[in-house]
């Protein structure tokens, strides 16, 4: 197959480009030659992901209307991906009239219709809460990852004004997380 020769001006341009590239490489090469030999580098990689921690109650504000007493139920869930060893309840009872007191209990399964914990595994969270108080309590009763804990708030008698119990659940790392894991690879 016959190939047309390049026109002279194309050959000249190609020659100029080649020459420029050669000169550039001569200029650049010594820089690399100086930098490369005076350092030795070793490297390795490691991959990690961090977990999440937290818990919440729903409803978080059980409320007794005037004249109402008895129990209010709430469900507490582990909203994180890490197991917990404890959590902190901040229990606030709104201001109001009367001398009604309140208690809070947890059950690993749902409370039955009679207000009992099936299997009898309930625990009391804190002591007695009075109207207008704010109490912080730490508890080792915690929901498993993806699981729930069932709460029951009980009024000692019928309230004489509307009262709201506010449940704030907090988890602080690392003290309220599972025991640390140490791996050797």
């Amino acid at each position: 197959m016959y190939r047309h020769p390049w026109p002279a001006r194309h050959r000249a341009r190609a020659a100029a480009v080649t020459t420029a590239a050669a000169l550039l490489s001569l200029l650049v090469a010594p820089v690399g030659a100086v930098a490369a030999p005076n350092r030795g580098v070793g490297s390795g990689a490691e991959t990690v992901s961090s977990g999440t921690w937290g818990a919440s109650a729903s409803p978080a504000t059980p409320t007794w209307t005037t004249g109402q007493g008895g129990r209010k139920l709430s469900t507490e869930t582990n909203t994180g991906t890490l197991a917990l060893s404890a959590l902190t309840y901040k229990v606030t009872i709104s201001s109001g009239s009367g001398t009604t007191t309140f208690t809070l209990a947890a059950c690993p399964v749902a409370w039955d219709g009679g207000g009992n914990c099936p299997g009898g595994g309930s625990t009391t969270i804190g002591g007695t809460y009075t109207i207008g108080s704010t109490t912080t309590v730490s508890s080792t009763d915690v929901p498993n990852v993806g699981g729930a804990l069932y709460l029951k708030a009980t009024a000692s008698n019928n309230v004489t004004s509307a009262i709201t119990m506010t449940l704030q659940l907090s988890v602080t790392s690392p003290s309220q997380l599972r025991a640390p894991v140490v791996t050797n690879q």
Binding site: G44, E46, S50, W53, A60, V171, P174, L177, V181
Partner: protein, 223 residues
């Protein structure tokens, strides 16, 4: 007959050109011969070889070394120990002093210091003999006290490692290292909501450890 005439003239010019070139070649040859005759040469030889400066990071005496993946999700206080051998495999010794920096990809609060006082941290310990079962039966030497990755996450912020003369300074020397990675986290989630910024739920993040040694001091000899 005009074309024949022109051709003869052309042949004449060609002969003259060839004759001129021949004369020029003879002149150049003669000149070079004269020049060669006036040159004296002395020669000497010198032999050199260039050395190599190589640093390798290989699997240690136990485990698989790098690359390493922490199984599951890391919680504050968890530790991932990776055992590696740092080896000067070149033919040149390194200078006293070695640096380390750790790049995180992607960059986030685990490695960039966004969550103040929190994030990944590295500790390095050298054992005088091979590590076994996560324990050193010889003498341990601290190479790097616990350091937040966020403070050494670029080549420009590389930190100097300690006790390097005993590490891999000499040719062929091996350092048995335990690289401990931990997560420092002191934050509280309230009602299932993490603070902002947070170190929670991040990753996977790949950390690249880069050790750099410098060439030994240049030598000047007089012979």
């Amino acid at each position: 007959m005009a074309p024949q005439h022109a051709q003869k003239r052309k042949q004449g010019r060609t002969r003259m050109l060839l004759a001129g070139l021949f004369a020029l070649a003879v002149a150049l040859f003669t000149a070079s011969a004269v020049y060669a005759g006036l040159t004296a040469q002395a020669t000497g030889t010198e032999t050199v070889s260039s050395g190599t400066l190589n640093l390798t990071l290989s699997a240690g005496d136990q485990g698989t070394g790098f690359p390493s993946t922490f199984a599951g999700e890391m919680a504050p206080g968890d530790v991932n120990n990776v055992y590696v051998n740092l080896n000067n495999t070149g033919s040149l010794a390194s200078a006293a002093g070695m640096t380390l920096w750790v790049a995180g990809a992607p960059v986030n609060a685990l490695t960039d210091g966004t969550a103040v006082g929190e994030g990944l941290a590295v500790t390095m310990t050298q054992c005088s003999v091979a590590w076994a079962g996560g324990a050193c039966s010889g003498t341990t030497t601290s190479i790097l006290a616990q350091t937040m990755v966020s403070t050494m996450n670029t080549s420009g912020t590389a930190v100097s490692l300690s006790n390097i003369p005993a590490l891999a300074a000499a040719t062929g020397q091996v350092a048995h290292l335990q690289v401990s990675l931990t997560l420092i986290g002191t934050e509280t989630s309230v009602n299932g909501v993490s603070p902002s910024p947070t170190i929670q739920g991040l990753g996977p993040v790949t950390l690249t450890y880069t050790f750099t040694e410098q060439q030994r001091t240049a030598v000047t000899t007089n012979q």
